[in-house]
Symmetry: C2
Subunit: 251 residues, 2 copies
């Protein structure tokens, strides 16, 4: 399978069989990760590969009890990481100026490009993957469990294992929703209606609406899945994590 | 070439020939991008594909005069984008609670996974790519040129074109520098020395040290390439962009 076919076949896999992942395959995945472009080739990221069941049990509630954390043989936590680079600078009589928000974003960008390379490589090896958005919500406690030092912030988590399910492709918005040529072409009401019509009319999503006892699909998101109250709480907590990990010293 | 070989062969390409990119290839790249996992399948990102030479000329100084911007046939600006989603919510009597830092991070994560998928797909088609880190530095002015509405923040830029150079692979730190098993294993002085020794001893980097008239490679980064002064300036500017684009209302 070539890279394009590999990418087009992506599904999030949430059920895994009991097979562990051979070390050489894991190493290949990390090598693929490390080939991603990084700012100034500083590689200001790190990957925590957790296989120990006891540590995964501690991570489980931080990822809201999503069973993939304990059922997947490997949990990868991708981190923005200036710790190693700062240590190197300090040992070389170079004064690191990376205790600020820009540096956090630089490191987060590095970490995410590496994560997606790892996912594509893992799928090449027949593994299933699932991203967990809970990482930024619960960063403070994940930092404790994984012993992340100052300068390190977890950005996303990927569970990895051999698939025990084969779901269909997930729907996506038409390309006109996400691609703008030359400059941004903002939407009018008809445009929004058109872009979201397939999603709103799908049986799967209509089931969500009924189950959530709301009027429509947009309300499933705003009232049930990603509420303002939660977002505000997690925002405050994430910003305090950035301060605590040393990324907001000049802002 | 399979996906792994494709990823391992990555080089940043900064020189392009005059060939334009056929529309069907560009569309395939965007389709590959759109298959990336996104939080709650909200797809809170957008891609601005700029081919117009006049607009690229305006972007050029914002990317610090890096010639790829005008020499590449296509410039892709990947954006965190809650504008479309918020508009949809508002039209459906759903109150969007996405005017906060957590939502910005959610959208930035979406945008970056999509970007890396597009890069891998582009390389599958024989195209060369280069990420430009200047995007977060100059976000405010890029927003003006690309007409990005509230709720949209540019995160990274990728130039795209057929290669007119074939550079060797860039060095990377050994995997022990970036992969930690189970939890974070912090480095001691010997570890830092070991991890950075290959880089510090390479002829290419020693040339940088001489040219920069500093004592060592770490100082090239702290005193010349990524200085505290610049980082502080760009941090303040990026945080003010997040406020202006509506992402810091509750923090």
């Amino acid at each position: 399978m070539n890279a394009l076919e590999n990418i087009l076949a992506h599904r999030s896999i949430r059920k895994y069989n009991a097979d562990s992942i051979p070390d050489n395959i894991l190493t290949s995945i990390f090598e693929a990760g490390s080939r991603a472009a990084t700012t100034g080739n500083m590689q200001v990221y790190s990957i925590i590969a957790t296989r120990d069941q006891q540590i995964k049990e501690k991570l489980l509630p931080l990822h809201f009890g999503q069973k993939m954390i304990i059922e997947a043989p490997v949990v990868l936590t991708f981190c923005a990481d200036f710790n190693r680079f700062n240590q190197w600078c300090n040992l070389r009589n170079a004064d690191p100026g990376y205790d600020n928000f820009l540096s956090f974003m630089t490191a987060a960008i590095d970490a995410l490009l590496v994560a997606q390379n790892c996912v594509v490589a893992a799928e090449h090896f027949g593994l299933g993957t699932c991203y967990l958005g809970t990482t930024t919500y619960m960063a403070e406690k994940i930092i404790e469990i994984l012993n992340l030092p100052k300068g390190v912030v977890p950005i996303t988590t990927v569970t990895l294992g051999y698939p025990a399910e084969s779901p269909g492709l997930t729907d996506r918005l038409p390309l006109e929703a996400i691609v703008h040529y030359e400059t941004y072409n903002d939407f009018d009401t008809a445009g929004i209606d058109r872009i979201y019509s397939q999603k709103e009319n799908s049986e799967e999503y209509q089931k969500f609406v009924t189950e959530s006892e709301v009027d429509n699909l947009a309300q499933v998101f705003t009232q049930k899945r990603y509420t303002k109250k939660d977002n505000v709480t997690f925002s405050q907590s994430l910003l305090s994590v950035l301060k605590k990990q040393g990324f907001m010293n000049n802002d």
